[in-house]
């Protein structure tokens, strides 16, 4: 692999649901979200899926975290005890090699929109965050040094 840049994209949104739901009901949608983003990135030409992870966090302290590292194995998820909540803060981080940040932002935003539609969430987006630190692999090549 030569000169595949690491795209690092983070999206944060506040979701407000039509009615309060138990936090644990978020595990499967979040797993589907990270799996869909990994698949979409691969279809768009990502060289390596680094890590696609999502976190839904509730004010009282509970959370669900989902993770996908490739498209051959299923996503994983974990959660802590949580109650019932109507509003949640959702963070999606996508770290993939071989795609431009703006492409990844588009794919991640689309996947979030699909999930929001599915669960009927009213979404308040925060500004997307991308890049800020460039890794080019292999890191020892001259191009990588210049970009860093």
């Amino acid at each position: 692999m030569s000169g595949a840049r690491l795209a690092a994209v983070a999206l944060r949104q506040v979701w407000r649901l039509p009615k309060a739901r138990p936090g644990r009901e978020w595990q499967r949608p979040l797993e589907e979200l990270v799996a869909a983003v990994a698949l979409d990135c691969e279809a768009a030409g990502a060289v390596v899926i680094g890590h696609v992870k999502a976190l839904a966090a509730w004010p009282e302290g509970g959370y669900v975290r989902a993770s996908a590292v490739d498209t051959r194995h299923g996503p994983s998820a974990e959660s802590t005890a949580m109650g019932v909540a109507r509003e949640s803060e959702l963070t999606l981080n996508v770290l993939v090699y071989g795609l431009a940040d703006e492409v990844v932002v588009g794919l991640a935003t689309s996947a979030l929109t699909r999930l929001a539609t599915t669960v009927g969430a009213q979404v308040t987006p925060c500004a997307p965050s991308a890049g800020g630190h460039v890794h080019v692999y292999p890191a020892s090549d001259e191009e990588g040094r210049k970009q860093r």
Partner: protein, 196 residues
């Protein structure tokens, strides 16, 4: 103060392992601080660790392995002066070779480090692929490790686990290899070896 550096490629299970190690330290009445360096400006790992009421120090605006080695040393000084934990666990970003940290450590001037341990976390789902396409990065992490931890022992297939053990052993003949399932508590003998 004991220093444990946890490295491994993106998504290999570093944060999940650190949660287990911190829990084991807490159960053993050892104070632990966790230094996190997550790529991306909105971290998830630090949010999770804080929600578990762990003591988290975040390095931002760069990668610990490329430009933040100095910030890590500053953070170690602050930890030593203000908190003096028994144990500091450093989570490297996973996207670059953390060898530069070892070069920076001699600049730490606080309480003497009683031990410095390098743990490399290996993902059996992807190690053979990563060794092909990201050879220097992945090889370096394995080569320099004092302890190797293979995650997803409960999920990966026996051939995936065997291929990971074989690949790791071909690069590092010395380091003990631990196979762990991070969905439950770690075997005390494993945490003992990782944190001793």
């Amino acid at each position: 103060m004991h220093l444990v550096l946890v490295t491994g490629f993106l998504g290999s299970g570093k944060t999940s392992l650190i949660i287990k190690l911190a829990a084991a330290a807490r159960a053993g009445s050892r104070s632990a601080a966790i230094v996190v360096n997550e790529i991306g400006e909105i971290g998830i790992d630090d949010q999770v660790l804080r929600r578990l009421e762990l003591d988290v120090w975040e390095l931002t605006n760069g990668c610990i392995c490329c430009s933040l080695a100095g910030d890590l040393i500053d953070t170690l000084h602050k930890l030593d002066e203000s908190y003096a934990p028994d144990l500091v666990i450093v989570e490297a970003s996973g996207a670059a070779d953390p060898a530069s940290l070892l070069v920076a450590l001699p600049y730490y001037r606080g309480r003497a480090l009683e031990s410095t341990r390098w743990i490399t976390v290996l993902d059996p789902y992807r190690l053979p692929m990563l060794l092909e396409v990201m050879t220097p990065l992945v090889t370096s992490g394995i080569k320099q490790a004092d302890q190797l931890v293979i995650t997803r022992n409960d999920l990966a297939s026996p051939p995936e686990i065997e291929a990971t053990v074989s690949a790791a052993r071909s690069i590092n003949r010395q380091a003990p290899i631990h196979r762990v399932d991070l969905t439950g508590p770690l075997d005390p003998s494993v945490t003992g070896e990782l944190l001793s």
